[in-house]
Symmetry: C3
């Protein structure tokens, strides 16, 4: 695909003087601010007045400017964006920003984004996400089209079921019986989806696609804790049986984790493949942080069920610390927030700013 110049590259080329890292409130803002500080990059906090008062006003030494909003709907207003451009702002997007502003508005945002903004459109569609992973040659959970195909435990998903209610699990042996039961409940085999159930250790892997260094770096990994499932599975069995609650999966916290070193062969390869697939699909290179999220099975397969085209909050576990894998590329302690600020600094110093934004 022919590459057109991005709106971000356009804008950044007009900046005079050093760029500033524009950090939206919440999600991973604190490590981004700390990272900028570590790299001697000026940071601009962008936050609602409420976020500022509750959290970020306590850490003013970490940024030199704050753009305060009455509400996030003000963010895309001309006045806000003008102010940010005057500050030579380069924006780091994250999931909270997308939630506040909407992916569609970010795609067209008149501000340089450190990252590939075109990926946002792909992420809005489940089908396009899975297609992207598949086209990259990354293993995903299998969909079985007939019961006889199933070689792993499966989850049987009902049409229109909300939050997993009524989903059934089965082994290849019990699957025909489960499908028969569902048929008697009125679900035809054509209606239900029989998907490989991933059972193993969940691994959220954090990468950084560097245009300055021309490589994809592995920075860290995390393990998520979710409510209520992580409380439910630790309830004394007798109490759990008395409650019989539906599990929920709200991400609440993250913990550090490292993988078996032999798994890195696949994990590093997946990082490269993902970046290449993004470039092929969007016509623009992968830039900056991204994440692959999957499960390692007892056969040491790494099956990816989700990706994020930007920084994930799990990187917060190493805020201010040398992340285990980040330390393999850099002499100084390196964590994701700092890595992003370093890319901005290096790109500026080497005249490559246009390469690290879209």
């Amino acid at each position: 695909m022919a590459r057109s110049r991005s709106v971000g590259a356009e804008i950044v080329s007009s900046y005079t003087g050093a760029p500033r890292l524009a950090v939206p409130g919440s999600h991973s803002a604190l490590q981004l601010l700390r990272g900028a500080r570590d790299e001697g990059v000026e940071a601009v906090l962008v936050a609602t007045r409420r976020q500022y008062e509750a959290i970020y006003s306590r850490f003013e030494w970490l940024y030199s400017r704050a753009v305060l909003l009455e509400s996030w709907s003000d963010f895309t207003e001309k006045r806000t964006l003008e102010k940010l451009r005057e500050l030579n702002a380069v924006l780091v997007p994250h999931a909270s920003l997308i939630e506040y502003v909407g992916a569609d508005k970010l795609v067209g945002l008149e501000l340089p984004i450190l990252g590939n903004r075109y990926l946002l459109e792909i992420e809005a569609s489940w089908d396009r996400k899975i297609t992207l992973l598949a086209s990259a040659g990354i293993e995903t959970p299998r969909i079985y089209r007939s019961p006889g195909e199933a070689t792993t435990p499966v989850i049987v998903k009902l049409p229109g079921a909300k939050g997993g209610r009524g989903y059934r699990a089965a082994t290849p042996e019990t699957l025909p019986r489960v499908l028969e039961e569902l048929r008697q409940l009125g679900y035809s085999p054509e209606e239900v989806t029989v998907q490989e159930l991933l059972i193993g250790v969940r691994l959220y892997v954090h990468y950084f696609a560097s245009r300055v260094m021309d490589r994809v770096e592995l920075i860290s990994m995390d393990h998520r804790l979710e409510s209520n499932i992580d409380g439910l599975s630790r309830l004394p069995p007798m109490l759990a049986a008395q409650l019989n609650l539906e599990p929920t999966f709200t991400v609440v916290a993250n913990q550090p984790i490292v993988a078996r070193e032999s798994l890195l062969a696949k994990i590093l390869d997946y990082g490269d493949r993902f970046a290449a697939a993004v470039e092929k699909e969007t016509g623009h290179p992968m830039i900056g942080p991204f994440s692959l999220e999957g499960v390692v099975t007892d056969k040491l397969e790494y099956k990816v069920f989700e990706f994020s085209g930007r920084i994930v909050a799990g990187t917060n576990v190493y805020m201010g610390q040398p992340a285990p894998y980040g330390s393999l590329y850099w002499e100084t302690p390196m964590y994701m927030g700092r890595r992003i600020a370093r890319e901005l600094r290096l790109a500026w110093e080497r005249g490559l700013l246009e390469k690290i934004v879209t």
Copy 2:
């Protein structure tokens, strides 16, 4: 409440020369010693001969003096306290010290304590603890006075039951039936306590109330591992069913954890509120480390079931490391043991010693 001068302020005002950090053996002594070393503060180890030989004799480079006891009952003897005062000792209390010496003796101890010693009396009473949390406006598990009130899963506690034996769990729907069953077993509804059952991710949050900086800092968080429950809940289901063991909850180990950044709005607020409530209740400000211990539910509420008015052992996970949140206040790597030593150093340098002790 009118504030009287504390015994600790009295004593410390008579010290000439730099204060020394008196670190009682066990609990979090090693990180306190390492923290003192990092800050250039002299440390005095206080330990039984047995603790010294088993553990602390291996790390003599971390402290300049050791006061060795035959047993912990010697600690409150005049001779010991005199020696410590001669060394300009400022004591850091922790749960092991309270266990060894008794809260009542510590309240009147003739030694400056880095912390609010009056809190010890409140902590000795469950009612006063919950009242303190409530008066601070911190959410705690709800007590339902009638079955109709219950809107969450509940635990039904029997009078005089030991270690949770016979406790029942229920949902709002099953609660009337459970109460009826208990009534038939001879428990009247007036006798049983129906308390909100917290199901989610346990979060132990570590704060530092700084009198020198005039703020409450968030330093780190941990996740606890307990025996046998964390082994039980990981037993293969078939074996677990064959055993049907009573769960136990002995804290054995701790792991690092970070919370969703949006939760910090509440977590930071709770820290401030707790410190303010302590000051109101005891007539003395909150000083130094404390901890709130609770559960984050799938609605992202943080419900606190317990607090500690001093350093908790969970801070050990970041011993010698830059704790994720501590790094947001300080240029240098910061963990709780070091933060305490820094407060002592700064207070000494600025003539504020009396403010950081009681």
Copy 3:
């Protein structure tokens, strides 16, 4: 036992110039390379061409030489070993190397090994391992010879059962009934093994036996995540019941953990005892990294079910970071990979190279 000079001591005494750390690919190679870099020790990567291309070629700044193999069977060829000796190589063995090359070949390897190579023979036999632990006075899971002896939950192991299939769990109360059931299935009480079932928090403790400092250091601890058991135990109960899968225990990842400080009395003692027992048993001192792997019960006993006579992959959790306990011995940040490189550097500087190899 009279100590004979080891083959490694023989070879290393002929080295002229500084030794190089020979790091075999996989397992913990990355932290070993990073550790060498931190200590200013030159590293030699030894890896297959495939490992090199998939992983280690990305981190070339961490080593000065690479010895690439077509396959690991080339490792023990004369040509390879000659090349390594010409490079003044001192080899760090790990579990992957043993898997690739075989313990028997490593025992006789014509290359200095940083560690006690004679331990490899003991580790090849389950009986000798348990005997070594017992002779050290380290608590291991009890074997009950008659049902009446059992005072803890037990696992009843069947003769010839594969991967735990058919194993039964019991309490002291239910044990007679379980044995009776097994008798009816044709298993005589003489055939089955009744072993204490360890339920609690798993703790993998990492030590370093230093010949230069003449002490055993505690560096760090980790917690393992295994597939599928850690996924199984977190499955919503209803799905788990529908699947009824056999648990498997493939180690996939590791997480940081710290133990209650009071447990260190036992943990430190066990480290010393293990090193002493190894010296008594093999006639050569314990050298370098080793690990004890056990469970802490709710009575705060630490029962050890396994050991490793060399570096374990769980040390990777602190790669490039100050490990909590390592920081108690050293001013600089210290993790296992760096500790090993430091021992090599110090031994070389002090003329003690022969003492740290076999």
